[in-house]
Amino acid sequence: MLLCPLLILAHRRRGLLGSVVYVMVTLAWTGLLFCGSHYLTGSWDFLSATHGVILTVPDLTPNVGLFWYFFTEAFEHFRVFFLCVFQINAFLYVLPLSFRFSEHPVFLAYVLLSLMALFKSYPSVGDLALPLSLLPLWSHTFRYLRYTLVVLCMFLMTSVLCPVFWYLWIHAGSANANFFFATTLAYSLAQVFLVSDVMYSFLVHRYDLCHGLPRVDSHGHTIALALR
C-alpha cells in the first residue's frame, strides 16, 4: 500500500522511467522472496498460512483492532461478504488520497500508515507507534487542529482501561467481552479523529500558504473556511 507515495517520490526524482523501474524492482523482489519461501518450505502452502491468514481472518484472538469481535459475532452466512468489505476498505483509500496529496508524498505516507494501523486485520499498539512518532514532522500545522483534547483524552483512557478490562474478562472472570471491545472501539475512534484532524489541519495550512495570512475579507473580518 505504501507503494503509491514512494512511486510519486520516485517519479519526482527520476521521472517516468525511474518510477517504472522502481515498480519492476519491487515486483521482482517480492517474487524472489516468494520463490525463496517456496524453495525453503517445498510447497506453496505458506501463502495460505501467511497472507491467507491476514486476508481470511481465521484466528479470533482479541487484539486492539475491530476485526476480532466482528468476526466472532458475525453470522456465518455473511462472513465472506464482510471479509471482502473489510479488506477492500483497507485498500480503498490509497488512490483517492494519492490524488489529493500528490505533491506531498511524505504526508501521504504518514496518512496511509495511520490508516493501515487502523484497518489492519491483526493490529497492535505498536502499529500506531510509527505514525505517532512521525506526527511532529508537521508540528507547524498543529495550530489548526480542532480535536486535540478529545483525541488526547480518548487515547489516555483507552491506554488505562484496555488492560484493566482484559484482566477483568479473562483472568478475573467478572467482566464481559463487551467491556474490552468497547475500549478497542474507543481506541479506533481516537485514531480516526486524529487522522482526519491532521489531514484537515494540513489542508488549512496549505490554503493559508496559498492565499496568505491574515485571512480577512474586505471589511477586515476573519473568514472561516469550510469544505465544499
Binding site: 481465521p58 484466528d59 479470533l60 484472538t61 482479541p62 475491530l66 476480532w68 469481535y69 466482528f70 468476526f71 466472532t72 459475532e73 458475525a74 453470522f75 456465518e76 473489510f86 476498505n89 483509500y93 483517492p96 488520497l97 490524488f99 489529493r100 490508516l115 487502523l118 484497518f119 474478562w169 479473562i170 483472568h171 478475573a172 472472570g173 464481559n176 467481552a177 463487551n178 471491545f181 472501539l185 479506533s188 475512534l189 480516526v192 487522522v195 482526519s196 489531514m199 484537515y200 489542508l203 488549512v204 490554503y207 475579507d217 473580518h221 473568514i223 472561516a224 473556511l225 469550510a226 469544505l227 465544499r228
Partner: protein, 571 residues
Amino acid sequence: MAARRWDWVQLLTAVFLHLTLPCMCQGRAEQSYSEALFMKFLADGRVSATFDFSTVWSVHPLLFSNPGNVQHYGIFPKSLAEVVAHYHVQELHLTLTQGQWRTRVWGYPAHPAPPGAELWAWFLPEADSEKEWPGLVDAMSGLLGAHLNAIDSASSFQPLVSFRPNGAILSKDMSNSSALLRYAALPRETVCTENFTPWTKLLPCGTAAGLGELFEAESLYDCDYHSLGLHFTPHCLDDGCGQVGVRLSLTLTVVFPPPVTSNPSILEWSLKSLFHRPLTSACPLAFSSTVTVETNSIDGVQVSLSQTPSLTGTVEVAGRRRDRAVFDLHSLTNSTTSKPLPPLSVSSSSWAYHIMPEQPELLVSRHLVGSGHDWGGLATEITNSAPHTVEVLYLEMVPWFFRLYLHTLSVSQATVLSQHYVPAKDRRRAHMLELRLSLPPLSTSYLSLQFRRAHLKWTEHKPDAHHGFYINSAVITTVLSECPNCTSLAAQDQDLAVLRLYSEPLLVSLPTPDFSMPYNVICFVCTVIAIAFGSVFNLTTRTLQPAAAAKEKLLTRILRRIGVLSKQKSD
C-alpha cells in the same frame, strides 16, 4: 389341471433347494454363543456385575465385504454384520459409559472404558479409511442411538502404537502403520435407556430368556458405574490360528452401591435385590450360560452363598488365588417345567468399610492447573507400585482450541523413551501426543503440559457455552506379566496381556463472547468505519473555500421582528 401341475413343480423346487442350498452358500458356518455373568464384591463394599455375551462365527472376516458371500446370519445380528461389511471394518470397539472406574479402590476393570462414548476401528487392508470412517460413525450412531455424529475430523485420531488390534491380524502390513486405525472419544456423551434398548436387541435371546431377563433399565442405571460395550474382532478358531472367524462380544459392566442390610456391617445381595427381575431360564441358543461369583475372603471378611453352586473352583489369576463358584444355568433349569431358578443370594460376614484396598500396580490420575481463561495446564500423575520398571504408552488427545506448547512438557521421575506428536490445525485436526515412558519401580511420575485457550466463533460454542469443553481421557497402555488386581472372567482366562487405563476427562471453560450482541457489534464497527470513510471522503472530494455568512435561523428572525433582540444584525 394346470394348478395341480404347478403344485407339483413347486414341491420339486422346494425339495431341490433344500438339498442344494446348504452346499452353495457359506452362511451355514458354525456359530456358537455363550453368555456369562460374573459378580464380585469390590473392596469398598460395592458389587460389580459383568455380563459377557459372546458369539463366535467361523466365517472369515474378509468374506464379509462381499454381500453375496453370507446368506444366513443365524444368531449373529444382521444389522451389525451389514454395517461391518459395508464399511470394510476388520475390528470395531464401541463403549458407552456413565461414571469413572475407580481403579484405586476397585482394581483394574474387566472391560476398560472411558466416561462417555468411545469408538475405535481398524479397517481391512484394502479399505480407504478416510472415506469409510465418517460413514461408520453415522452407522454406529444409528445402530445404538448414540449421538456419535459429533465425531468429525477434528476429533478423530490415529494413534501410532496405543490401540493395536485386539483380534487376529489379517495382514502383515498392519503391524507397522496406523493408517487403517481411527479412534474417537466423546466424554460429553451420556448413556441412557435409548442406547440400552438397541443394544439388547443385538442379543440372540434378547431380554426374553437367559441372562437378558435380568435387564431392567431402572436398576441398571441407578448405579455408580455403567458401561455398555460392543466389540467385534477377528478371532482365531484354533490354537495355531489356521482358521480365522469373527467374534462379537457384547459386554455390560455395572457397579451397584453397597447392598447394606438392617445390620450395617453385614452386606447381602441377591439377584432379585440388585436387578429386581427374576432369572427363570437359560438362553436355549447358548451352549454355555453361567453365573460366576467370586467368593474370595477379602481381608478376613467371609463371603457365603445361599445355595450350592454347580461347581466351585480356584482359579489362579496372576499369582493370586481366586475362589470362584459357578452356577450353570442349563443344569439348574429344567427345560420341561418352567419353574423359576432358585434365588441366589450372597452375603458377607461383618463387612469392614475401612478395608485398605490393595493398590493396583499402575494408577493414573489427571487434573488441570492454572487459573483464568488465558493460560492453563494439564498435569498427569502415574503411580507405579510394582517393584520393577514398567514400560507404558501414554496417549494424550487435546482439542485444537487448547493450543499446546510442547516445549513446556516436563516429565519427572519417568524417562521418555520416545515421543510422537501430531500438532493441531485450526478446525481440522486435534493435538495428539504419544509417549513411551519407562516408570521406575515404586515411584510416582508427573507429566505436565501447558496450553493457551483460543477464541471460538459464537456459532462454534455448544448450547450451554459456560459448561466448557472436554478433553479426552488420557490412555495408558501396557503389557503386564502378572496382574493380581485384574478382574478376569472365567470365560477368558488367557493371560490378560494388554492393560488399558483411562484417566479422568477434563472439563475446561473457554472465554465466551456475548451471545446477544451480533447486531450491535456489526452496528458499532460499521459506525466507526463509516466515520473514517466519511471524513476521508470529505477531505478528498471537497476543497476548502471561504464560508459565506450563515443565514440566520428562522427563530432568530422571528424574535428580531417581535423586538426581543436588537434590530441590528450582529456580524
